[in-house]
């Protein structure tokens, strides 16, 4: 409805009553839980049981955050950073090379490669988790950070390759030809042509991959067990068991785990949005 007027020259023209109603209602649905999480995390443990849950805390305190930080939160945070950074770097590197092959070589192999990649996107992680567990145990990697990173990379490759392929297709072939005439090898083409050209797509897909790994739960749940290898999402779940009846601390942990993502969102909102819809958004 409004779509008609929204981009017309008259900015006041867009009357979309059901959309507007849904829009403001949905705002309440989104904001209320977020508000609840924040105010509860600032509430003293005793007041949680007595104060109105939606009121502002009468004696706001950061104690809950203190209890979370004392509980080895820094280690889980570091683990998450390591796994996410490692997975994203490797995923981007190998996917960029594969995408280059798919786009540049016209062999049947390249076509089949792309088809395999497309099929890979539809594989649910749950379907493969039991053999992945078997494999990780057999490789002696159980309960290491590598155990989380390797399958995370494998499952990120298909969508990453697809997005990069779609992007690389639009690069004019003449660019490659002229570089080849200058005597550039495959690696130089990759380094000094493909890499700089692909930067916007790489940033978007890196953000997407990072969010997936950062928030990933199933691989850490099944492939690790000790505190040394615990990552953030899993730590939230175990906090719940450790902090029985300390809801402010649990929610403080939730807030702490979101802060890095929120910071990324504030700095690079555009990239995050395009990263999330990349590959699906067309």
């Amino acid at each position: 409805m409004t779509s008609a007027t929204k981009r017309s020259r008259n900015p006041l023209g867009g009357r979309n009553v059901p959309g507007g109603l849904a829009g403001w209602l949905w705002l309440a649905v989104i904001v209320l839980p977020v508000y609840y999480i924040v105010v509860t995390s600032l509430r003293p443990r005793e007041d949680y049981f007595t104060e109105n849950p939606l009121s502002l805390p009468s004696a706001p305190t950061l104690d809950a955050y203190g209890r979370v930080l004392e509980n080895d939160f820094a280690r889980y945070f570091l683990n998450s950073v390591l796994v996410t950074a490692g997975s994203v770097v490797v995923t981007l590197a190998v996917s960029l090379m594969a995408a280059y092959v798919v786009v540049r070589s016209r062999t049947r192999f390249a076509g089949n490669l792309l088809r395999l990649v497309l099929l890979g996107i539809a594989i649910p992680i749950q379907a493969a988790i039991i053999p992945v567990y078997y494999l990780i145990v057999e490789l002696g990697l159980y309960d290491t950070l590598l155990a989380i990173a390797l399958p995370s990379i494998a499952f990120a490759i298909p969508i990453t390759v697809l997005i990069l392929v779609n992007f690389l297709r639009d690069v004019p072939g003449e660019l490659f030809e002229s570089m080849r005439l200058d005597g550039a090898g495959e690696w130089r083409m990759l380094g000094s042509l493909v890499l700089p050209l692909c930067r916007p797509a790489l940033v978007a897909v890196a953000v997407y991959d990072a969010l997936q790994v950062w928030n990933g739960f199933l691989f850490p749940l099944i492939l690790t067990q000790s505190e040394e290898t615990r990552v953030l999402p899993l730590s939230l779940w175990t906090f719940e068991g450790e902090f029985t009846a300390d809801v402010p601390a649990v929610l403080a942990a939730v807030v702490l785990s979101v802060i890095p993502v929120l910071a990324a969102y504030a700095v690079a909102r555009r990239h995050l949005v395009s990263g999330l819809t990349a590959g699906f958004g067309k």
């Binding site: 409004t2 539809a122 494998a154 939230l236």
Partner: protein
Amino acid sequence: MAAPALILFGLFAGLPLLGVVALSFTSWDGLGTPSWTGLDNWRAAVTDPVTRDAVWLTVKLTLFCFLFQAPVSLLLGVFMAGRQRYRALLSVLYFLPLLFSSAGVALSFQALVDPNFGAGTALGVPALAQDWLGDPDLALYCVVFVIGWSFIPFHSLLYQAGVRQIPQSLYEAARIDGAGTWVQFRRITLPQLKYTMVTSSTLLIVGSLTYFDLIFVLTGGGPADATRVLPLDMYLTGFRSHDMGKASVIAIVLAAVGLTAALGLNRLSGASRMESQTEGA
């Protein structure tokens, strides 16, 4: 140059998909060595009432998720596509749920809907202070709502992008012909969003069939198996009851249903677009 990607993908995603088929014919407790048992697991899984219930629950969950998320996402997406400043601001806030991990969302809602100390008690309305997650009749709806809370933002982003790609000239022509906003929505916006709808629906359905993290932390499949959908049934069977063989059967069903839904919807939409792009490369 494609070798590293192929090896990593093959070893940790491709090979396991074949492996799960092999494991479904074995008996394995997750620790020892798998031993061949033929079709035993398949027979056990097909006749297991818990698994049958899980299949039915999964269908129900998928249906409810679709009925909730698809219309709201469409409505919000069209709304968000507007260029008004306040809509841009609202869109920034709508995005918030996408930043949370499923575990974080689940824990927050657990506290939020707590019958004794949750938000339901704040307003003094007894109907809101029910034991949402503890009542087998209510838990599934609660799960559907929380899933919607986390995923509607993503789908509305897809619709927003879709609406913004509709050529403005279509609307101008319609207005010259005297079409009102409702007619424009019916005759232009909806048909033009066909591909977006297919993409969003596919992701929605495949997603609903495979939600695990959120339900696992929110309810653990309970109360009394009231939210034990297939992915949870697989996890509990394999990693709690140590029956990896039977869990593998459930995993195969999951993979098959997911792949079929994805392929079927792709065909429906004529989304061979992907192929034709390949030809043109």
